[in-house]
């Protein structure tokens, strides 16, 4: 057992939980996006951490995470474009569904 891998798997679980919490709690779209990204980082940590529990480095999940980081940045950029456009069209940084609470 590698203690680092277990500790950072735990850290990943924490980030996933914090991310989901923020994603559901906040109504501001950029906060939601930040929370979503935190959740993504948690998933990456969990993926590599759990694969390396035996103490060996595993290149396959590491390569997957590398791909994931690039996809995450393009998704973030896409979301930011959508948020800007939404702001321009509606003048709001929240979705109408979020007003019913």
């Amino acid at each position: 057992m590698s203690s680092s891998a277990v500790i950072f798997s735990l850290a990943g679980i924490g980030l996933c939980a914090i991310g989901l919490f923020g994603f559901m709690l906040h109504t501001h779209l950029i906060r939601k996006l930040l929370a979503f990204n935190i959740m993504g980082s948690g998933v990456f940590l969990l993926l590599v951490g759990m694969a390396q529990r035996s103490g060996h480095t595993d290149p396959v999940p590491q390569a997957l995470v590398l791909t994931g980081i690039v996809v995450a940045v393009s998704a973030t950029a896409l979301a930011l474009y959508l948020i800007r456009r939404w702001l321009q069209l509606s003048g709001s940084t929240e979705l109408p569904e979020d007003d019913r609470r």
């Binding site: 680092s4 891998a5 277990v6 500790i7 950072f8 735990l10 850290a11 679980i13 924490g14 939980a17 914090i18 989901l20 919490f21 923020g22 994603f23 559901m24 709690l25 109504t27 501001h28 950029i30 906060r31 996006l33 930040l34 990204n37 935190i38 980082s41 990456f44 940590l45 969990l46 590599v48 694969a51 529990r53 035996s54 060996h56 480095t57 290149p59 396959v60 390569a63 997957l64 590398l66 791909t67 980081i69 690039v70 996809v71 995450a72 940045v73 393009s74 998704a75 973030t76 930011l80 474009y81 959508l82 948020i83 800007r84 702001l87 321009q88 003048g91 940084t93 929240e94 609470r101």
Partner: protein, 314 residues
Amino acid sequence: MSVLLDLLLLSSLWVFALLTLTALPLFRGVVFFILLGLMLALVWIRLDAPDIALAEAAIGAGITGVLLLDTLGHLHHRADQESSPIRLKSSRFWVALISSLSLAGLLLWALLDTPATPTMLAEQVARALPNSGVDHPITAVLLNFRSYDTLLEIGVLVVAILVGLTLADKDSAQLSLPKLPNPLLQACLALLVPLMLMVSSYLLWAGSKQPGGAFQAGAVLAATGILLHLSGFRLTLRTSERLMRAGLLLGFSVFLLVAASALIDGQPLLTYPDHLAGILILIIELALTLSIGLILLSLFTLPHFALPEQERPK
């Protein structure tokens, strides 16, 4: 000792994540998010994943941070930044808390529940490595064993740009960033830009044997472009559109061409002949680096070159 270090990193990750979501104003939240990315880069080093550490620092913290800050500046001009503070007693809060705690519980359960027969992917990779054309296992996985993922990944980047192009607001005046005529900045640039270009090409070249590769090199290239853009060295609208098109086309088409050339030989898509694998991977990586650099740069500059329709070059 190292356990203490790990625990310190773990707590800093959690604290920065919480601060990202709670700090007011939003700007502070974004700064904590960038800090979180940098801490994550350290964590990746502790996890023996220097490739991811490089990518996280350059892309996860760097480029994402720049994009977020840029949008924040845009918001500042137009709307209130934060309209709803957190309400502790709303039902929303409790639903969010319960769901996140149950998610944590589920994941913990998954962590404790070790599979009976562990799959040893690392050994399979090590066995196939001599035939892959490169010496670094992660590059081998990315560009040989699972190159399909990488092909689709560059496709995702292309799609993001295309959607960004469709959504670019042609009605509003161009939101141009002010130039900074600062002599000290110019002097620093003269030193920094060659260094960044050198780091980028080194990362690309190193990728075949050691940590590094197309993504990290491309990200550093994009960062150089963004730095130049922010300090006032602008390309004309026409040139940046052309560069963006070249970036969109180059990586994806070269990769696709190499992938499809195996079909002529009667092989399945994306198989490289053993003796050519190394050079083919190098060609793909070179194209990918330029392409990723240009695309990431365009992701940043795209909102800035939306001109009114009549001024658009035909």
